[in-house]
Every structure is written in structure tokens, then in C-alpha cells.
């Protein structure tokens, strides 16, 4: 659909609303301009962006009729063919009650969870992040079947008891980009098939709204996957572990080469062994209680998990070399990153 390559510009008084959509995800940005007449135009989004970005600093004027959009700034003039504005899909926006979330807390939670969602469209359910009411708070869950991330936001009662929705992680990653390091509030409205997030101080009229379709279907029973207790616990400095894994990972030149972690009472030894390139090892000081075992992980999955844990230290709990391991902060139960090992011969 060529029209989906367009952005819809709508002026009403001094308010400009810019909307882009791919039918699954719709983003609308509102801002204040100096309007001289109300109207709507749909212009090629990429081209419009390229033009405006290239212009000299200063004011830009846009003027549209039924067939073209004229863009002028200083001595530059562009005339761009437009799409019929009536063809632009107007997608339903949820009209339910808006609830507010703390932007900073949501940003952190999304960063911790969306990384575990799948990007493979073959299993749509796993491309989503489960948002569920849990113990009076909000729980976010994602899994790509190799790892599972669970984050609780206690006391965030945006969902009714027992309510849960499955939000595409792609939309949440866009939301993360739009949030940046924003403080303040994020509004959430839920509909039967859609959810709308609103960012900005003045609500939808002076900010950004992101509307996404929800994923239909039953999220896997993730609770059964989380071991109740672990015999082995490692506590290690987060940055030291990250640096060491990033170094030994240099030898893992393909996606399938794992990093092996030998768990010992006074520390751990990380090893990457390849037939084609050689080996890398690094010792890291750590506290360890449990059996002396070696467990191997995909280094990227490991790094993503350690990065997601907050605090200076991270706990790695293991059962054995073939069962799920978990990473979590040592002082909080709010986050858990479950990781399946790599079986090595």
C-alpha cells in the first residue's frame, strides 16, 4: 500500500498533527505551529523528512492543495506530489479511561524485558510482551524460548485484577525510543484490540501518541518454567563480568559459539573455544556457593541479561549445565532473566 509510505499532516488553528502508520502501529506527534488555514495533506514521509532535514536552519513553510505540497525555506523551494488524503487509514483509537504510569519506571522495565522477546514472525505470540496484573502491580514478561525476562512494577495498577494484554515488542521498542530519558508520566488507554500510549505534558494534544494493535492469543505458561529454587548461586560484579564476556566473545566469530563459565568457589573462568580461531579465557573474581560445574551460554544472550540487571552486582543461579539459569539483582525480586544454556560436546 503506497499510502502507508505517507505521513498525514493535519493543521487545525495553530496545532499540527503528524501521523504515520503501518496499520499495526500508528504514531502521532502533535506540535504548535503558526497556522494560516486548516487542512489535511498526505505526503511521502521519507522524502519529506529528507527535505526538511536538509534545509538551512530557520522557518519552513508548507502549503498544500489537492495535488501538491510546496515546501519553502529561505531560497529553497520544493514541490512534492501528495497522496489523496481520504485514502489515509484512520485507525480506531481506544476511548477507554486513561491511566498514568511513571515514565522512568516504565522505561527501565521495558528495557529489561523487550530484549527477551522474539523477532521471528513465525511465532507471533513470542514477539509480544505480556502485560499482566499481578499482586496489585503490573508485570511485564517476554520470551523467545531461549530466555525469559520478567519484571514487576509493584503498585502500578493500570490493569484490572486478572487482566492481561500482549503488546508487540516492536511497538514497545518504538515507545522506548520516543521516551528517551523522559521523566513525567505516560498515559495508557486499553481497548479490546488496541492500546495507546501517550507521552508529553499536555496529553495527546501537545505530545506523542503511539497506538498499537494487540497480539491475540495465549502467552505461554511462563511461571512453570521458572525453577523454584537453585542449589548454586554466583554473585559477581556486573561490570567486571560484562567486560570479561565482551573480551572472550571476540573469539566467538559465529553466532553458535558459546562462552563456557566454570563456576569455582573463588571465582569463575570464562572460556571461548573455537576450532578455527583459537581460544580465550578470563578469570573473574566472584563469590560462589554450590557444585563446581561448567555451564555454557550464548554470549550475546548472557550480555543482554547481565546488562538488564540493575545494581553493581548480579546473581547467577544455576541447577546444572542443561537446565535454565537465572540472572537477577541481588537486592530485589523485581527482575528475573532466565537463560537456557548451550549444550556443548
Amino acid at each position: 500500500m503506497p499510502i502507508l509510505g505517507g505521513v498525514r499532516l493535519s493543521v487545525s488553528g495553530d496545532a499540527l498533527e503528524v501521523t504515520g502508520t503501518d496499520l499495526d502501529l500508528t504514531i502521532t506527534v502533535s506540535t504548535t505551529v503558526s497556522g494560516s488555514g486548516d487542512g489535511v495533506v498526505v505526503a511521502p514521509g521519507r522524502l519529506l523528512t529528507d527535505i526538511v532535514r536538509a534545509l538551512e536552519p530557520g522557518a519552513v513553510s508548507l502549503e498544500a492543495d489537492d495535488e501538491e505540497l510546496r515546501i519553502a525555506s529561505g531560497r529553497s523551494h520544493f514541490t512534492v506530489r501528495t497522496h489523496p488524503s481520504a485514502d489515509f487509514p484512520r485507525l480506531p483509537v481506544p476511548t477507554g479511561d486513561s491511566v498514568a504510569l511513571e515514565a522512568a519506571g516504565l522505561t527501565e522495565a521495558l528495557r529489561q524485558v523487550t530484549r527477551a522477546a522474539s523477532s521471528e514472525e513465525s511465532r507471533p505470540i513470542l514477539t509480544g510482551v505480556l502485560m499482566a496484573a499481578e499482586d496489585g502491580g503490573l508485570r511485564l514478561v517476554a520470551t523467545d524460548s531461549y530466555r525469559l525476562a520478567v519484571r514487576d512494577l509493584p503498585g502500578v495498577g493500570v490493569l484490572g485484577e486478572g487482566q492481561k494484554v500482549l503488546v508487540p515488542s516492536r511497538a514497545l521498542n518504538e515507545l522506548l525510543r520516543l521516551l528517551g530519558s523522559a521523566d513525567g508520566q505516560v498515559s495508557l488507554r486499553l481497548g479490546a484490540h488496541d492500546a495507546t500510549f501517550g507521552i508529553g505534558p499536555g496529553g495527546p494534544d501537545a505530545g506523542i501518541t503511539l497506538t498499537t494493535r494487540l497480539i491475540e492469543g495465549e502467552f505461554p505458561n511462563y511461571k512453570a518454567l521458572i525453577p523454584a529454587n537453585y542449589p548454586n548461586r554466583l554473585i559477581v560484579a556486573r561490570e567486571a563480568l560484562l567486560d570479561a564476556v565482551r573480551r572472550v566473545k571476540l573469539l566467538a566469530r559465529d553466532a553458535t559459539t558459546p562462552v563456557r563459565i566454570a563456576l569455582r568457589p573463588n571465582g569463575i573462568e570464562l572460556t571461548v573455544i573455537t576450532t578455527d580461531w583459537g581460544t580465550a579465557t578470563e578469570d573473574v573474581d566472584a563469590k560462589y556457593e554450590g557444585a563446581e560445574i561448567t555451564v555454557a551460554f550464548n554470549p550475546n544472550f548472557l550480555i543482554e541479561g547481565v546488562e538488564a540487571v540493575t545494581g553493581d552486582e548480579v546473581a547467577l543461579d544455576t541447577l546444572d549445565a542443561l537446565k535454565p539459569a537465572t540472572l537477577r539483582p541481588i537486592d530485589s525480586d523485581a527482575y528475573l532473566y532466565l537463560l537456557m544454556p548451550v549444550r556443548v560436546s
Binding site: P258, P324, M340, V344
Partner: protein
């Protein structure tokens, strides 16, 4: 090497020198692996049934053959070759390709290098070899065949060296019979003769479409190239091990499924030991079955992870055996492992969460052939305890020999007999051992 195994035997036992000597299986179903030129004069040839060889040459001395000794001699031979060029590709125990392109400036023209190789092997090892040289690989092999001592004094005298000079390739090649070509077996040769093609020259003159209609498209193109002296293959220094296998031929056809399963365990144990010695592991387990009517079948199963454990390989092999009707009588059984990877270096398997059942996943082997699929999943990996035990077994065998320790199922009345490559290599030896477990074994036990 000329009559390699027989020459090594004669080298080690002076009593055998100058006599008709046959190395191979001595049993009813044994075959000739190698024979001395004295035996060849009676018409004895390699791969001939031993019974036929005995009839042709009743005075011949039969010896069973010592594979490990031949390997040792082969290694010494390779060390000599490597003085002449670093580019050495061994193709069997007694044959190797040497690319001497880079050595000519240093060591002289090809005929001089060939003579020097031959003289060095003779002087240092007491063995004779034939050297063929040419601009392409398969011609060099043909030249080495032509350089071999003539049987019964017939044929051209070459002094063991034959170099096909550049430009002379077709003159050398075209008069030779088609079955001299690599890739032309008895069946292909028969089909070609039926259309009037007897020599390689005939093949070169043949219409390409007709050739393809006789031998198939890819073989046709390949043979057409060879017949014109074209061979793009280069000498490859390291021929990687592509498979590790072990087979046994039985003196009588076997129908005891349980006994055959035990035999599979023994062969799998031997294959696994060799895999571990080579620091290899393999994903595909193949079972080869030859029935009494010589019909030969192979079935395989591919595991998600590379295996180097005898018990696991045996379980796959036993599951494959279940897909055969052993009531037909099994003449030969073989266990092989292919899809080899370096041990310990993957391909590692990323485990998954079992999202359907809510339990951690367990990998299940996938059947390469539907009928060969194990009825119940074979674990992809031995337990930690089994792995430790295996390391201990390897260490014990390293110190006390291969028969020192092994699976209890393979125990015989007189102790354990290690499955070694020497055993049954060219057919079972006489007197015939009873293959049934617990059967009386008058020979071959307790080595």
C-alpha cells in the same frame, strides 16, 4: 607401495621372503588384502576370495595381517615423502600424492625427484615403491600403476618410475582400458563396453550426449574430462577424516537379534574410542547390514548433537537394527559415524524452554530415515557420571591396552576381547568362533 602388506610381512619375517605370500582373511569368507609378486604369478589378486586364492596357489603362506604395523610403516613413509615436498596427500596406507611443483628448483627435474623418492624408501625402509608422475592427479596415479613391477615378467620395464611428460598425456592415456579410470567400476565399464567403448581413447571420442545417456549426467561430464586428461583436483595436504566405522563379517549368517545388538555395542565402542582418540565426534550414526544374499542396506539417524560415546552410538545403532528383518540372515554388520566435528568445539546446541508443556526441554533425535527412527528417544548426551567413567576407561586402555576394560555385555568366557581394526578386517579367521554370547570360543578370546 608395491604389494605393501605382503612386503611388510616379508620385511619383518625373513622366512617369508621369496615365497608366495597372501595377507588377508583366512576364513571361509576371507578376502585377499595383499599378496606378494610370487603369489601374483599364480593369478592371485587383491580382493579375491581367499578360498579362490588358496586353490590357485596351494603353497601360498597366509597371514592375517597387522593393521597397526602397516599404519606405523605408512607413517615412516610419509616422513620420507615430506622431505621432498610439504604438499603430501595420503589416500590410503600405501598411496600418496605429492605435489612437487615447488620442489623442482630445489631438487631437480621430476624424474630425478621420483628416482630419489624411490631410492630413499628402498634404502631406509627396505621396501619397494613405484612412482608415477604427471601434470594432473589421476594421470600420476595411472602412471604409478604402470610403473609397478610387471607380474610374471611381462610388460614394460620401468625401474619403478614412470613420468608422463607434459604434452604426452593423451598418448599415455588413450590406449588404456576404460576401467583404469577412477570412477569407472565394473558396472560402468560393462555398460560402456556394450556401446563399443573399450579404451579411454574411445571414451574421449564419444559423443558427450551418448556418454551421459550411458553413465548419467554428472558422471558423464566427469569421465569426459578425465578422458581428455583434464583433472582440476589439486593435492590436498590434509584429508580430513569424514567418517569412522567398524564392520564385521560373520562366518555364518546370523539371525540372533540380541547377539547382533551386542555386536553393535562392541563396534560402537570401538568407533567411539577411535573418535575420541582423534578428538572427533559425529552426529550421524549409520548401520550397514549385508544379508546372506549379498544385498547391502544402510540406514542412518542424525542426532542433534555430536556423539563420541559408545553406548549412545550403540543405542542408535540398535534402534536402526530394529528396522531390519534379521531373520533373513546377516552376513556383515557395520556401525559408522559421520557428520564429524571437532570434539568440544560444537556445533553447540542452544537449549530451548519448552513453552508448550511448561517444562525445560529435552532434545529428541531426528530420524534421517523414517524407518530408522528410534522407537524411544535416545539421550543426546551421556550423564556426567558416564562421561567420567568413559574418561577413566580411556585412561585405563591407554595404559593397559584396549582389552583391559570395556562394556560388560561384551565379556566372554575367557575375558574381554577388544574390538580392534585388525580383527576380522578381511573376514573372520579360522577356526570359526561361535558368535553366540557365551558360546565356546576355541580361539580369539582373551587377547
Amino acid at each position: 607401495m608395491d604389494a605393501f602388506f605382503a612386503s611388510v610381512e616379508a620385511l619383518d619375517d625373513p622366512n617369508l621372503r621369496g615365497r608366495p605370500l597372501i595377507v588377508g582373511g583366512t576364513g571361509r569368507r576371507g578376502v585377499v588384502a595383499s599378496c606378494s609378486y610370487e603369489a601374483r604369478a599364480f593369478g592371485v589378486r587383491s580382493a579375491m576370495p581367499s578360498a579362490v586364492a588358496r586353490r590357485l596357489c596351494p603353497d601360498a603362506v597366509f597371514v592375517a595381517g597387522r593393521y597397526s604395523r602397516y599404519s606405523e610403516v605408512s607413517r615412516q613413509m610419509h616422513q620420507i615423502f615430506e622431505r621432498f615436498t610439504p604438499v603430501v596427500e595420503g589416500i590410503s596406507l600405501d598411496e600418496a600424492f605429492l605435489d612437487i611443483t615447488g620442489s623442482i628448483r630445489l631438487l631437480g627435474p621430476p624424474p630425478a625427484i621420483a628416482a630419489a623418492i624411490r631410492n630413499t624408501v628402498s634404502a631406509e625402509m627396505g621396501l619397494s615403491c613405484s612412482v608415477g608422475g604427471a601434470t594432473v592427479k589421476f594421470l600420476a596415479k595411472l602412471a604409478s600403476e604402470a610403473a609397478k613391477p610387471p607380474v610374471g615378467g611381462r610388460g614394460p620395464q620401468t625401474n619403478g618410475v614412470l613420468i608422463v611428460e607434459p604434452g604426452d598425456e593423451l598418448r599415455f592415456l588413450h590406449p588404456q582400458p576404460i576401467d583404469a579410470l577412477w570412477g569407472v567400476g565394473p558396472a560402468t565399464a560393462r555398460r560402456l563396453r556394450q556401446v563399443g567403448v573399450a579404451t579411454i581413447g574411445d571414451l574421449a571420442a564419444m559423443d558427450p550426449e551418448l556418454l551421459e545417456s550411458v553413465v548419467g549426467r554428472s558422471a558423464g561430464a566427469h569421465l569426459a574430462n578425465l578422458s581428455r586428461g583434464v583433472d582440476g583436483r589439486s593435492v590436498e595436504v590434509q584429508r580430513e577424516t569424514k567418517s569412522v566405522s567398524h564392520e564385521e563379517t560373520y562366518p555364518t549368517d546370523r539371525r540372533d537379534a540380541q547377539g547382533l545388538r551386542t555386536a553393535i555395542l562392541g563396534m560402537a565402542d570401538s568407533v567411539a574410542t577411535r573418535l575420541r582418540q582423534a578428538h572427533l565426534a559425529g552426529r550421524t550414526v549409520t548401520l550397514k547390514v549385508r544379508f546372506g544374499d549379498f544385498s547391502t542396506h544402510t540406514r542412518s539417524v542424525t542426532s542433534p548433537v555430536a556423539l563420541d560415546d559408545g553406548a549412545l552410538i550403540a543405542r542408535h545403532g540398535a534402534a536402526l537394527l530394529d528396522s531390519f528383518d534379521v531373520g533373513r540372515g546377516v552376513r556383515l554388520l557395520g556401525v559408522g559415524v559421520t557428520n564429524l566435528v571437532a570434539a568440544g568445539a560444537g556445533p553447540a546446541e542452544q537449549l530451548r524452554l519448552d513453552l508448550s508443556a511448561g517444562e525445560p526441554s529435552r532434545a529428541v533425535p531426528t530420524g534421517a530415515s523414517g524407518r530408522g527412527r528410534p522407537s524411544e528417544p535416545v539421550p543426546t548426551r551421556p550423564s556426567v557420571a558416564a562421561t567420567s567413567a568413559r574418561a577413566a576407561v580411556d585412561a585405563v586402555r591407554e595404559r593397559f591396552g584396549p582389552a583391559a576394560v570395556g562394556p560388560a555385555a561384551l565379556l566372554e568366557r575367557r575375558g574381554r576381547r577388544a574390538g580392534r581394526r585388525d580383527d576380522d578386517r578381511w573376514g573372520p579367521s579360522e577356526p570359526t568362533p561361535d558368535p553366540r554370547p557365551g558360546g565356546d570360543r576355541s580361539a580369539g578370546g582373551g587377547r
